[in-house]
Subunit: 330 residues, 2 copies
């Protein structure tokens, strides 16, 4: 393990000089010493010990991103956006996946705090559990109290900078579009009511229908993933239009209908939410609400890094994208 001291010795200079040459300092170093140090470092294959640097500087160049599930393309896109932005700032990224366990999320914040990362990004839906939220908030506050920055993609419940997708309003807009096509009997594949994102989207959809004076849709709860959509789709009854609260669930629903010989959109229309890129070649093409996921991830990182006093909340609108999976009635 070659250390800075080795380099300094080999170059015949002091530790201080070697440090100044190699690890960027405001102080100037004369050209010939500089060259000597650089050569020594190169010859010895010196790599600075970041742990030591972090300790001495009191600040690291790492950020932490916590997502629910990396294999879900929703999170992959968000994380990718944030990581690109981080790379642009010269930051390294530690990624944690909670696998949808809120306790894990709290644990990650504690760990990332211990790592003294520059910023923490919490990506993904909050859960409707005040006790858990409170504990997460506490951990986050502690982290911020010691100088850390934090931001969140999801619901504005943590008192930190937040990129908040317009789940309610996006779903409402979708409902209005679908109602405009003549549908009146709806079903919602609602996901788990615990998940705020699922809940908001469902509520937005339901309330828009109510405003239009349409009958209440059948709301079917279930898991937030492909299989959740698949199962919930068994119970949509005589609905002519089904809204799955995310695209992955919608794909599960499509599979379920296909198996049962129910044609989409002829027999039933299906819509999702998110506009996941990997799913755009689905047949029939999925009607959905597009969210600029990569941008949202990148934006969250920016928010975390710019040290505003008041936590900022940035609403991100969703855009209804009508595709073949829905049809007009009549």
């Amino acid at each position: 393990m070659v250390t800075l001291e080795d380099v300094a010795k080999q170059a015949g200079v002091s530790l201080a000089t070697a440090s100044r040459v190699l690890n960027g300092s405001t102080r100037q170093v004369g050209a010939d010493l500089r060259a000597r140090v650089e050569r020594a470092a190169y010859e010895l294959g010196y790599r600075a010990n970041i742990a030591a640097q972090t300790l001495a500087r009191g600040a690291s160049n790492v950020i932490g991103i916590v997502v629910h599930d990396l294999t879900d393309p929703y999170f992959a896109a968000l994380a990718d956006g944030a990581m690109r932005a981080a790379a642009g700032e010269g930051l390294l990224v530690m990624v944690g996946t909670t696998h949808r366990d809120p306790e894990q999320e709290i644990a990650y914040v504690a760990t990332l705090n211990a790592q003294r990362v520059r910023a923490v990004l919490l990506v993904g839906s909050r859960v409707a559990d005040p006790e858990v939220t409170e504990r997460l908030r506490g951990e986050l506050d502690r982290y911020r109290a010691s100088g850390g920055r934090a931001a969140c993609v999801g619901q504005d419940l943590l008192g930190v900078d937040t990129v908040a997708p317009a789940n309610h309003e996006g779903a409402a807009a979708l409902a209005r579009s679908l109602a405009g096509l003549g549908h009146t009997r709806f079903a919602v594949l609602a996901g788990p009511p615990r998940l705020m994102t699922a809940r908001d989207r469902c509520a937005g959809f339901v309330s828009a229908l109510a405003e239009l004076g349409l009958p209440e849709p059948r709301v079917i709860e279930g898991r937030f993933d492909r299989d959740g959509g698949y199962q919930a789709a068994q119970e949509t009854g005589d609905a002519t239009c089904v809204f799955a609260v995310n695209d992955v669930m919608a794909v599960g629903a499509l599979a379920a209908y296909r198996e049962r010989g129910i044609r989409v959109p002829d027999d039933v229309s299906v819509a999702g939410f998110d506009d996941i890129a990997t799913l755009r070649d689905q047949v029939p093409a999925l009607t959905t609400v597009r969210l600029p996921l990569q941008d949202m991830g990148a934006r969250a990182l920016e928010l975390a890094l710019t040290a505003g006093e008041e936590p900022m909340v940035e609403q991100v609108a969703g855009e209804v994208v009508l595709r073949e999976s829905v049809r007009a009635l009549r």
Copy 2:
């Protein structure tokens, strides 16, 4: 920022005792002092400074994973497998994405070395460029010389533990299956020849056809992603069966055919490689070669962590999965 010293002071014990209580040591500490320390730590909200710990211990509990592109479900699955395994060992994960730039890969190894991470996982295809490979190898050797462990998922070109998918043999088995269905005129959507994975799969397919005495397939190069498949599919001529070297490209090809009114599998059969979970609901269902991606990721981590002398190479077989996107001729 509350430090261990603060805790020790508040508890009225020495730094050493506080350290032993809080950060796991072999030494025993008496019950009452232990309790005092724990209370003080709790009251003060103490979080150990990992940078300091890493420095003092000379070993970190972080591993690094470098992938090409997180939004590609292939890498997401691999990374997820590795991350689960890491979590099981109590390790944190730093993820880097190269966005398919080999230079980035080298840079990441250097950075992760500087971080003194416990292990580095290089996930994804090597490129057919001896010069780049050599430099990466050099960086990796330097890292390992200073005590780091490394493993790779892909081609065994780096002299480290490797989980090597049977790209050549898997593609060959697929070719034999497809030929068994009566196809004779093939095309290969080959991806970029620079990418060893693309190259191996293409070569395996081509050589199996040759062994069967079948005419040479048309080989169309292109990008390794959805759009690459889409574009290459424009040039498959009169082939009755098309092999895309990965599933994502195959989906692109399906989209291209759909647009042009070419029916799959009636007019042309299409097969992919990887068996990406997110794509399993594709219509028509994709014939492919299944790779146990999550297991491979987890296995790579294990290999990296178990300190064998000789680098191990573990072949992972692919399983041909025939689905609706291909049909028998006659």
